[in-house]
Amino acid sequence: MTARRALASIVTLALALSLLAAPIQAQPAGTLLVGLVAEPVNLDPAQVTDLNSNRVGRRIVEGLVTFPDESTQVVPGLAESWTISKDGLQYTFKLRSGVKFHDGTPLNAAAVKFSIERQINTEHPAYKLGKYPFANYFFGNVKAVEALSTERVAFLLKEPRASFLAVLTSGAASIVSPTAVMKWGPDYPSHPVGTGPFRFTSWDRGQRVILEKNSAYWKYPVKIERVIYRPIVEDQARLTELLTGQLDLIVGVPADFVGQLEKDPKVTVLKQTGAHVWYLGMNNQKKPFDDKRVRQALNYAVNKDAIVRDVLKGTGSLSKGPVLPGTWGADAALKAYPYDPQRAKKLLAEAGYPNGFTTTLWVPESGSGMQAPVAMSTVMQSNLKAVGVNVTLQTMEWGAYLTKLRSKEQDLFALSWMAGTEDPDMVMYPLLHSSQWTPVGPNRALYKNARFDELLQQARLTTDQAKRAQLYREAQRILVEDAPWVFVDHEIQIAAFAKRVQGFKLHPSFDLRVETISLK
């Protein structure tokens, strides 16, 4: 065989292969193809907390209360109304009548009681059927759930907590079909049944989850026939599939691709600031960060604008504190620390560090809500060096990082928080109340301020939202003054979708509400 003949046969083989390869085909009408960044692990939202599982799982099940399509204010869901007792200890819900689960089981008070008690009551027949990691975090305060009649159900609390309605918007508070849970037992997460706009149809492991529309959906008629979720980890692959019509909608578009997509006439790009905060934590109990002036100096020293502009490329908005700007609890008058290295140097000198100091910054390589942790930290490192603070970056794998943070040995650390709701209690209390110091809770900056603690506690006991807002505003002003963290950014979520997708909105809770979509 000559070289020419060999080459010829290789070319023939390649051609034969490409003929065999079916050309990329168009999708059937009414089918929405969604690209996820990872495969859902489990479709029972009470058992998992990862974004991808929730984005799919929460199409199937719903809670008593929910959010409207554009904000995180609490509105009626499966409950059409509710009353809160004067002492704030009893929440009584009136359920919508005539709602049925996808398997025909009627939605009633018993189903609500079942859905919550399976997670917290160790004697409950369904308790052992699953693992409910956040049961205590969300429902540790629930003493009992009582079915008062078929349509009325009461939650009895151990102590008042004004954010309880916000708690009930979580995935863990979704109402599931008791018939399905008992039928499937430990396999229920692969066969979820709820009242939501879509019913679970099939799941090809590693490839796709298919949901069909619930024709009897109580809220409105769903306009698409089915959704197919495809897990595609690699960014370039997800993007290619969108541009070649094999996906209609992708989320988690990497910052580097946004510019390119915005110029593409076939694609619409949508942005939305999510209920998230990214911060550089400081160990408030450890020298030199126990001095307020040092913490303020770091806030002046870090060029957050540059991080948002150059590293995040528009996928983050500047943060002034932990509460999402524009929501009821936020203080609009709050001022962000400007980038002012001179001021930082002056404050450091006042605190007794005219020549700066040396410290360590712990950074996870990646992690839920962490955006670009290493790149962002590197910018901060050089910002801090400019004011004399020599920072050594120590990068760690996410799991190892979380363990290490409970040692209380941290100086500086990069972390983020996705509250999924706008209620300030769900962000400020766990992250900054002194009762939540690590390792007990997630206050890893070991921040403590008596007045701040008191304000947060009072706000928990007050059900009047206007009064709560006042208390939280004062608390936020204290935070700016105390500067327990360097407040960096709130993530802007980015979705890109084909022109045939109509009526899609990104939700600030990071939920992916495809039920509002119609296809052209």
């Binding site: 065999l20 390869a21 085909q25 699953g130 692969s190 590693g206 595609i232 692959a237 290619t240």
Partner: protein, 316 residues
Amino acid sequence: MRRYIARRLLLLVPVLLGVSIVVFMVLHLSPGDPAEIMLGSQATQEDLERLRQELGLTEPLHIQYVRWISHVARGDLGRSLWMRRPVLDEVLHRYKATLVLTASALCLSTLGGIVLGVLSAVRRDSLLDRLSAVTSLFGASMPVFWLGIVLMVVFSLWLRWLPASGMWAPYGGGDLGDLAAHLVLPAVTLAAASLTIIARLTRSTMLDILSQDYIRTARAKGLVEGRVVFRHGLKNALIPIITVVGVQAGYLLGGAVLTETVFAWPGVGLLMVQGILARDFPLVQGCVLVIALTFVLINLAVDLLYAYLDPRIQYE
């Protein structure tokens, strides 16, 4: 021969036991545990302790190991901590996809490598030989994920010939053509490095053999060149080639992790990566055991092939 196979199969037990101990220890001794990762940054001490208790992580390691391995011995690999699904089902389901991918890549790299190697040896210093030397260098030094993305951009995004990811069309599809279309890019990506290694080795072995006396004799007695090269040359060159192919099979199983991630191929490699990040102990242990078993069996097959190719090799 039969006794030899039986003995080799019996040896599987200690090998897999050893693998299981190493994997178990590496996973359990590395920092971060499943409860920690499941709860993420919102973890409270109380939730962590309760979850660890429920996941059985509070017991001493040797007790956890013995409990797990005794279940494994009965064919029960446990339930995934995250997915709550039986590990064996999950792994076997994904394993099929990995086998399809690695087997295709292995065929591609072996056939392609041998053809290219033989041609380069026979036409030494020809254009083809030089071209193959350059591409080999290129192929061996390209990272799998980079090559994968380049192929994807060229053949999926620009030319639109082939789908960019997955194993089947997102809706409909499901026939052999559909699978083949989805298989081309990942298989070529995965095969590239092995193909070049096999080609280079084939070339040098063939060059060595073609200069031997018996080849000269074969030519002298008037055999056709094709018969000289394939019957007398290649067959004798196959022993080292088969050895390398066996090693490459293991490499491909490992390389599948990256290829599967790039092309969203629903195989065991992708599953294992997710499992490791989540510290899903039973799941990762299950994946590693299945991959180790495959590797050992491939090695056995290679050893048996030797005897077939060279009757002088005997097993006792």
